[in-house]
Each structure stands twice: as C-alpha cells, then as structure tokens.
C-alpha cells in the first residue's frame, strides 16, 4: 500500500503546476472560457514541447509516461481550470488508438498527437446522452471495402477544432447491443461530416456532429468489426477517471481559495474562518477532497496496471461527482456574495465541475454500474 506519488509523477506534477501557474492566469482562463476555439496554437505548441501531449502514449510512438502520469497532470489542469482540447486529444483520442489501434494506425496518429499536430476526439453519445451500447443508433454499412456512416452524435467535445473523430457506430445486427458496435477513425474533412456547436455554461466546447453518408475505408476501422464496445468501455473507464482527476483538482483549488478567504475576511470582529459553521464546512470539504483523490487514484492505478477496474471507476465517478458538488456549494456559501459574481474566479470552477460530472455518465448511472459490479 503506497499513497505517495513516485519521482516521475512528482516531476510531472511540478512541471504541469509551474507551467499552468505561469501561463494559465485568471486572465487567460477568462479569455479561453469565452473563446470559440478554447485554446491558442501557441499554448498547444508549448504543451507539445513539454511532451505533455504525449502523456500515456508509448515511447515508440513519441510519447512519455503512463496513464497515472496523465492523471497527475489532469489534476493539475483541474486546479488551473484549464480549458483546451487536451482532454479530447490525449484522453479520448490517444487512449482510443492506444487501446484499439493496429501498429500502422498507431504509427499514423500517435506521433502526430504528441507533436501537437493532430487534434482528435471521440464521438460516442447520441440523443439520449447515454453511455450504453444500446444508445448508439448511428449506422455504418459495409460497401465493399468501405463503410458508409450515417447518424447524429452529440456532446462531441472539441469537434470544432479536431482533425479526426473516433466514431462508434452499429455495424452488425446482433440483438445484444454489445456485439454490434464498431469504432472508426474519421477525418473531419471527409464529405458528409458536419459540426454544429453546442453552447455550454462552462466554456466546455461541445458539438453536435452529423454523419451523412460518410464514406470511410476499411483501414479506418479501429480494432475488430462488431467488437468495438469492449474497447469503448475501456476508453470510457479512462475518460471517467480522467474526469475525476479534473474534479479533484477543481475542488482542491476551490478549497484553497476558500480557506484563504476564510482566514482573511473579517465579519463580526473575527476572521470568518474562526466561526464553527465555516470550520465545519471547510472540514467537510477537505474530507470530500481527500476521499475523492484516493478513489480517483485507486481506479487510475488499477487501469494503469491493467487490472479490472470497472467497480473502482464506478465508485470514483459516483463519489467524486457528489463530493465535488458539495465542495463547490460550500465554497460559494463561505465566499458569500463576492463568489456569486462573474468577476470572481470561483464560478469557472463550479461550472467546469458540473461539466466534468455529467460527462460520460452521471452519478446514478455510475451507481447502477457499481451495482452490477458488486
């Protein structure tokens, strides 16, 4: 049993924290939250230079570190309330290719990702916004060596700046929806692909992507045909734990600024942090954050080790989501009116936390998953 980061992880943490503290100021955050693209090419280039875009990608394909290193960095990105296509590209896109891709596909896409040349995302959810195989109604029909994809994908993160989409579609007729899904990698410029932006409260860049008879070659299939769902589940596990790591960082930073405010702000002759109601709120925030962090790292560690992690991922996402919600509520309550204004930084954290929570299944969904894995 060891709860400590190792040397490499500590290094990644310091690297990411220093970079983000220096570069991702409140001013930049405000700009990016309102920006249509949500990132600047300069920043992306810097991420690539630090090899952060290669995190969890095997060294053979230009990457560095493992999934746990990525999680450590994502927690830091949460602390900074970092908005960018990093999550889409590195967590969703790269993970998908790492999990499912042939050596050829890995050669083709992974070095580009780690070099910052390729932005890529996952198109999974549809109208029901559910992360189960039966919710996938988009169809890919085989025509000779090609496939023709038709359907509408929703909540596709960063589609508007992506070069490629990984699209889950029905290929087979199997009654069991788990046995009829395949994954495709689709160049966004393929005829028939169109994106419409969905505006969110958090500055998260979401899109509706329509596939209208989009023809892709058989080379674009990721993994085996009809056997995509088990891959998708692994990708979803990583995605959910990654969201947890973001939430841990968001909550930690919310507590930090709340603690500082509670020490400084005077009311009725005392720093408000001396009042028992504020102390008990803050104590509960710390419990929520410590518990969240351990639940997250346990799940991430299992994934990283290749151990079964469905139960631990479900626990982490269900628990961290609620904990983070409680933390944000308390942060606002302690801040009072000042934290209720757009000028204050807190609301970016609150909003991003909700975006992370609902992304890839909410609390009840994950509790249901947990029930089936207990």
């Amino acid at each position: 049993m060891d709860f400590a980061l190792n040397e490499q992880q500590e290094m990644m943490q310091t690297l990411a924290r220093d970079f983000l503290t220096g570069e991702y100021t409140d001013k930049v955050l405000r700009a990016m939250a309102g920006d249509e693209k949500g990132y600047t090419p300069e920043l992306w280039k810097k991420l690539a230079e630090m090899n952060l875009l290669g995190l969890s990608i095997p060294e053979d394909y230009g990457g560095i570190g493992d999934f746990l290193d990525l999680i450590v960095v994502l927690e830091e990105m949460g602390r900074a309330c970092f908005i960018s296509p990093f999550f889409s590209t590195v967590v969703l896109g790269a993970s998908s290719i790492i999990e499912t891709g042939s050596d050829e596909q890995k050669q083709k896409f992974l070095p580009g990702i780690s070099e910052g040349k390729t932005i890529i995302t996952l198109a999974l959810a549809e109208e029901l916004a559910k992360y189960t195989p039966d919710a996938i109604q988009t169809k890919a029909t085989q025509q000779g060596g090609d496939f023709v994809i038709s359907g509408v994908k929703l909540f596709v993160t960063d589609a508007h700046v992506s070069d490629y989409l990984i699209c889950a579609a029905m290929t087979g007729e199997a009654e069991n929806p788990r046995e009829r899904i395949s994954l495709f990698i689709v160049d966004i410029n393929t005829p028939g692909v169109s994106c419409k932006s969905l505006k969110t409260i958090s500055g998260d860049k979401q899109a509706e992507v329509t596939f209208d008879n989009v023809k892709v070659s058989g080379d674009n299939v990721l993994g085996e045909i009809d056997k995509g769902w088990p891959y998708a589940q692994k990708i979803l596990q990583k995605a959910n734990v990654a969201r947890c790591a973001e939430m841990v960082g968001l909550a930690q930073q919310a507590l930090n600024i709340t603690r500082d405010y509670a020490k400084e702000r005077i009311a009725f002759g005392h720093p408000i942090g001396a009042f028992q109601s504020v102390q008990h709120r803050c104590a509960d925030m710390l419990i929520d954050i410590d518990g969240s962090r351990f639940a997250t790292y346990q799940a991430a560690w299992r994934i990283n080790k290749g151990l079964p992690a469905a139960r631990e991922v479900a626990i982490a996402k269900a628990w961290v989501s609620q904990a983070c919600r409680r933390v944000m509520n308390s942060a606002h309550q302690v801040h009072g009116a000042i934290g209720f204004t757009e000028d204050h930084i807190l609301h970016y954290y609150t909003k991003k936390a909700r975006a992370s929570e609902f992304s890839f299944g909410g609390v009840d969904y994950h509790l249901e998953q947990l029930s089936t894995h207990s």
């Binding site: 959810a125 916004a129 929703l154 909540f155 419409k196 932006s197 969905l198 505006k199 969110t200 409260i201 958090s202 998260d204 979401q206 509706e208 005077i266 009311a267 009725f268 009042f275 109601s277 504020v278 919600r325 509520n329 606002h332 309550q333 009072g336 009116a337 934290g339 209720f340 204004t341 757009e342 000028d343 204050h344 807190l346 609301h347 609150t350 909003k351 909700r354 975006a355 609902f358 992304s359 909410g362 609390v363 009840d364």
Partner: protein, 392 residues
C-alpha cells in the same frame, strides 16, 4: 384552525389569474421564467415596469395597506395570493423592494410626510425602489458600515461605495443606510436610514453581473450626494432599528416557496413528457413535493401571524431560509434530471426548457445568501426561537 382561503380570497385569486392569463407576455409564460431569472430577459425592465403599473392600477399592490394610505385594510394573504399567482403565471411586475420591503417599513417607521410622499408611487407601480445596505468590505455585518454622511446645513452629504444593490440600474429611489457617527460605541448606534432619489447628482451605478450572467446587482458610488434631512427615516443615528424591521419584512416577503413549487411542477411535466422519470427520480420528485408543501405552510404561518397583527420573529427567518434552500434543491434536481443536457445554455442548439435549468441552477447559489445568509438565519432561529445563548 383552517387550512383554506376564504371565498373572497379565492375569488381574488381567480381575478388575478384571469388578469395574468391575458396580460403576461407570452414569451415569459412559454419560457416559464421565475422571479429569479426573468431579469435576464432583454426586455425585462420595460415589461416589469409596465406590469407593475397595471398591478398598481388594479390596486393590488396596496390592497393590504391601511385605507388612509390607499389600501383596503385587506389581510396580508391578498399580497401572498398575488405573489403566488405572479409566480404561477411567470409574471414580472412585483417590486419586491418597493412594495415588499420599503412600503411596510415606511408604514411602520416613516413620518406622515414620508408616507404621503412615497406610498402612492409604490402603490401605483410607477416608482421602483432599490435598497443599499452592503459595502465591499462587509456584507452581513451592519455595524461595520463605513460609507459616511456628513451633516451639512439642511442636508447630509454622502460619500463612498456601496454594493449588491439589486435593481440599482433602473430604480427611481433608494433606501439607504450609512454612517453618521464614527465615534459612538456600539457602532451600530451611528447609522442613519435615508431615502434617496436616484437622480440626485453624484450617484454612479455600475453593473455587477452574477454567475448566471444576469444583471441584478450593482455597485453604487456616492460622490458628494446631498440628501435633505427630511429624508431621514426613524431619526438620526437610529437607522439600525429601521433596518431591523426592514429585514423582518424582507424575510417575510420572499416568494422562494412559490417559485420552488412552480419550478418543480415545470420540471415534473418536462420529465414526464420526456420519459425521464425512473423510480429513483419519482422518489426524489415526491420528496421535493413534500418539501414544497412544508415550505408553503411555513410561509403561510408567517403571513397568518401578520394577519393577526403579530410580528413574526424567528418564524420569518425559518420560512425564508427553508424556502430558499428548497429552491436550491429543486434547482439541483433539475440538473440531475437533465444530465448532460443541463450544460446547454439558452443560446445553444438542442437546449431543453429554453436553457432555464442551468440558469436557475447558477442563480440558486445566491439563494442561501440573500437577505442574510442561511448561517445567520440559523443563528436567529436558535437564539430567538429557542433562547439559546450567544457565545460570550
């Protein structure tokens, strides 16, 4: 004991409903706006003023006032019914500060001249008010108010900055508390309550946008603003007592319970129509409905006390806090119900319910802060309602 309204009250409710059925702009009803998010509408200020004048013309804003000031000596349940129907019909037009707080405070503490000068404007719906207590350095702690009014012949001259002034950007008059004595202890004995015309030279109003993106609050800067002495309410250096009774009215005038009930049923309808009601959601919905009923009863108790001439004490803090915290829970329920769709703003494609879910949710962070935080309400309930001692 009686848990119904009188036939007269029921008739009044029908009359109000019939009126609102016609008069509330279609867009407000279609979007099912609440008191707390309608201010985000681009045309809100005009619609609000227009509706206020219509309600005023009906005599409804002052029906529960004494006859000598234009009222009909009606029970305060008429005001309650009016506000419930306004909530149910998604209607603006009730100046919760002028009609809700300033008028009753003036009726209690105002001079005859002040009543004569200001009550008709409020009753008619033509004069909109704001109130200004807080300052940047201190919110709930009145005793530390620093903005100063210097005596100056027949006037006081005010300098300094106030904040969190709801509706300050279009209100006609301001109910204001400032310091007039810096030496006195305890410090709360150096405060004075003024009525200030917002057109007085030297007043600058800057918007403070809340986290839902709504413009309700403002900073108000006073730069040598001269206010005549006759605009003092309750006497020089006695502003604290005026504020206390004002806060009592503030706590009793809220409509959070009504807004929560309306919003919850909107959500229930949407959930039913969109097949979102699994057994877990059905259970949570029922729980919130029970909570709404209790919130309603806690509020009715306060109004009933007022109807008997009793001054509510801890009861209003309880009703106000429970209602506002309930509204937060209902807002959270909306988020859970909508899941990932709860992220979409009103401007987005695919947005359900015109984007009201996230709008209400974000606005709800303010609810446990309004009119004194929930912490202060609980202090009040424990100390006034149960006689528990203060620390030291």
């Amino acid at each position: 004991m009686d848990f119904t309204f009188t036939p007269e009250e029921e008739a009044f409710r029908k009359e109000v409903a019939a009126f609102l059925e016609k008069e509330v702009p279609q867009e407000y009803r279609e979007k099912r706006l609440t008191f707390f998010d309608m201010s985000a509408q681009h045309d809100w200020i005009q619609v609000h003023r227009a509706m206020a004048e219509k309600l005023g013309a009906k005599g409804w804003l002052s029906r529960h006032w004494p006859r000598e000031y234009g009222g009909q000596d009606a029970s305060p349940f008429y005001r309650l019914i009016l506000r419930e129907e306004l909530s149910r019909y998604h209607s603006p037009g009730y100046d919760s500060i002028g009609a809700g707080i300033v008028a009753p405070a003036l009726l209690l503490k105002g001079s005859e001249e002040q009543k004569k000068q200001h009550l008709p404007g409020i009753a008619s719906g033509k004069v909109i008010w704001c109130e200004t207590l807080s300052e940047p350095g201190h919110g709930s702690d009145l005793a530390s108010i620093e903005v100063f009014a210097r005596e100056d012949a027949d006037c006081f001259t005010i300098n300094g900055q106030k904040i969190w002034t709801t509706n300050g950007h279009f209100a006609d008059w301001n109910a204001l508390v400032v310091r007039t004595d810096r030496e006195v202890t305890p410090k709360y004995r150096g405060l004075t309550f003024f009525l200030v015309d917002m057109k007085t030279p030297g007043i600058t109003v800057n918007p403070v946008i809340n986290i839902a993106g709504h413009h309700e609050f403002n900073e108000v800067f006073f730069d040598d603003v001269r206010v005549p002495k006759e605009n003092i309410v309750g006497g020089l250096n006695k502003g604290f007592y005026v504020v206390m009774s004002l806060l009592d009215y503030e706590r009793t005038s809220d409509t959070a319970y009504a807004v929560a009930g309306t919003y919850l049923e909107d959500l229930a309808e949407y959930a039913r129509d969109n097949n979102l009601l699994n057994p877990i959601m059905v259970n949570r919905l029922a729980q919130l409905r029970a909570d709404c009923e209790v919130a309603r009863l806690l509020h009715y108790r306060v109004t009933w006390m007022q109807s008997r001439g009793t001054v509510p004490n801890y009861e209003s803090a309880m009703s106000k806090m429970y209602g506002f915290e309930l509204l937060q829970r209902v807002s959270e329920f909306g988020m859970e119900l909508l899941g990932q769709y709860s992220q979409l703003t009103g401007e987005s494609a695919r947005v359900p319910m015109y984007g009201r879910i996230p709008s209400c949710y974000l606005r709800s962070f303010g609810h446990s802060l309004e009119q004194g935080t929930s912490e202060i309400d609980r202090d009040v309930i424990a100390q006034r309602g149960l006689g528990l001692p203060r620390l030291r």
